[in-house]
Symmetry: C2
Subunit: 472 residues, 2 copies
Amino acid sequence: MKLVLLSGGSGKRLWPLSNDSRSKQFLRLLDRGDGVLESMVQRVWRQLKNVGLAEFAYVATGKVQREMIRSHLGEEVSIIVEPERRDTFPAIALASVYLYSIERMSSDETVAVLPVDPYVEESFFLQVKRLDPVLRRSGADLALIGIRPLFPSEKYGYIVPFGKSLEGRNPFTVESASDYFSVSHFREKPKAEEAQKLIDAGALWNAGVFAFTLGTMIRWLAERSYPLQYEELVKQYERLPNISFDYEVVEKTDRIVVLPYEGAWKDLGTWNTLTEEMGSPILGKGVISEDSKNSRIVNELDLPVAVLGVSDVVVAASPDGILVTSKEASPRVKELMKDHVQMPMYEERRWGWYRILDYTHFEDGQEVLTKRIAIHEGKYITYQIHFKRSETWTVIRGEGELAMEGEIRTVQAGEVIQIPPGTPHGIRALTEMELIEVQQGKELIEEDIMRIYSTWDEVVQALVKDESKQVE
Amino acid sequence: MKLVLLSGGSGKRLWPLSNDSRSKQFLRLLDRGDGVLESMVQRVWRQLKNVGLAEFAYVATGKVQREMIRSHLGEEVSIIVEPERRDTFPAIALASVYLYSIERMSSDETVAVLPVDPYVEESFFLQVKRLDPVLRRSGADLALIGIRPLFPSEKYGYIVPFGKSLEGRNPFTVESASDYFSVSHFREKPKAEEAQKLIDAGALWNAGVFAFTLGTMIRWLAERSYPLQYEELVKQYERLPNISFDYEVVEKTDRIVVLPYEGAWKDLGTWNTLTEEMGSPILGKGVISEDSKNSRIVNELDLPVAVLGVSDVVVAASPDGILVTSKEASPRVKELMKDHVQMPMYEERRWGWYRILDYTHFEDGQEVLTKRIAIHEGKYITYQIHFKRSETWTVIRGEGELAMEGEIRTVQAGEVIQIPPGTPHGIRALTEMELIEVQQGKELIEEDIMRIYSTWDEVVQALVKDESKQVE
């Protein structure tokens, strides 16, 4: 059995902490139990490890999130890269073709696809594990996970089992955790009254988990003449219908079974739900007056946040902005900020992170961007050239190897490196290392970069060769 | 007639915008009428100019505020420097002795002392001007301004006129603006019921304005054996009772008159009152959702502030911190933040301003402080040495003269200057100039500074002399 975790989302619903490069699943806000904070994706990965599933898991995601995934889950995680972010049908089709044509997996292999960030108990993943035998025993084309509904929600999708096959049994009076049910049909976001009737008839919330054998999916794609080679499908990726797997596949499939899950399942996608799962009312620097009841602070800035005489609010502050919202109104933040475009002020990268300290566009067109950059021990920013900007690096912590103008030398805290436009440069941290970088130029954009080598080994080889040439 | 404006206050009531170096009177939040924002002290100065009093005014203040005063009011303003911030009695005594012994003013001169930041109409200062003839005509020792009370406030002091001398007249049925009244007594912060009775009897709010002839005050001080020479009083300043002028002088004086003022008079010392006088609900970057009624944003940061579904709040953000307060609770901010000590993140200086972008104290004791520094055209940071820190300056705007290690040379945007510990350095802006400064050391404190020369002329002279020496 293989797992495919879908990691998407552009994340304006948790603005200002989430942004285009940091979707909600990457926010390190959840208490792991030992006081250390973890992200939603880290929590899921930890749970998968505990039930022995992590080693069989792939993360399917776009280029933008690739470095974040590695930064959160480590270098060893297997990633299936999507050429662009699209809906769940193209993502699952691509992942299946990847497992089939690149990993050359057997058609008989069970593949379970799930969101990267369900907020659930560990037993949820035990049920995911049971989808493999359930699929085989039932002979169904698809096996799903159904959540025991807690109330007649109007927000979720419902999986309705066959009345007949239930023979009056409610899915939660089942004898064992591996008892499954045949699915009659689905109902998306019903009104509360209808939802209650569905619940009374044994319907379950759809958890967005889909299990199938690789052969079933490949046959489905082949019948519709989709390419079955990964490289080819990547090329044609934008031609796939941008539609959910539910609509494109599930609703057109006859033999579907559902396995119930009885534990907690929460949508932590908005500030009111997320802050309920925070261990403490204040994350980061802050103070809340005694008469401010049930208010929360999530503060990633160095500045203190004070809440005085205001109840039931969430104050979220990050280098991207400051949100003050009533808990009730917090789901509307995406709407309020929909026209707000800005460069992300904090980004995690494979090699470390950076934070923008200051940005100015002077009247004469000159731009200045000041960043604090951290490079983890052993990691590097590869040999590259900027054409439109100069950079000044003041090393403020640690020690590293600087590659510049065909030479490699050691630099350490206190040293200053000036990099004029057009000068090749790269740096590798020998210890944890930090820099203050001042960029100056007429057009400070990420795209003004020419990478000369992609690994540090190549840099070392090339520069050492260069040197020997000069000696001759 | 001379005016003395008392500028004090340490300003936690308007945290995070006010701090120890930027009291509330220096916040540039008031709409001047043409869209330009001005501070309370600038507003008063503009009003004093309009009524022809500015040229006769002195500002009495502590060392800390001296540079802020010049930055707000210009270089030409006359400042009487107090060796430390104390209450109004010592401040007024020192100012009087300064006018007497340094400015050698006549004993006959009228001196009117007033707070630097009353939020009033221009006619208030016309009344201040009339205190001179009122004092002469009445033969009183002190002449005050009384505000027509709008409601029985429990927060203010009341000036109670003699019932007899009023002969049944209410101070506001006077025939001309220069009609004054003899004062019977004072009442501080009465309960509302008593306040109403006082108002019915013609009492006025005390505006904190005191006019006297210089001779009267000098005689008063001489009788109590206080030094009458400024330098001597400065030396003994800490021995003066730290008490208000009201308690020490006014309450012990018999012949006092009061001149009524009928216009608006507001205390803008808390966020709820101050934000009422803002032209727009949002100052700086921000957005307020439509369902957030009567909320205000005052944002000095580069980040946007969003208020969603929260009514009647003030969000104030500055490099010192972020406050979210209900309007009602806002007077309690001083109390909430009383134990909060921090270095001011933004300071205005005579030569320009600086803003702290980043500060870190690493585990090994090493500290790093990154600042953005602006130096106004023609201004300079004088020749100085730091012993415990290095500095890296990346010039990001404009052009200046750098004095370093005995040499003066021109530097401009794009250049980087490294200043190791123990290296004398100074800089003068030839145009508006900005730097990013990275300080590194074991103890980054303001006191680690040895100023070698105090003016740029001295620097030029000394370094040119040095150079000629070297040439010989």
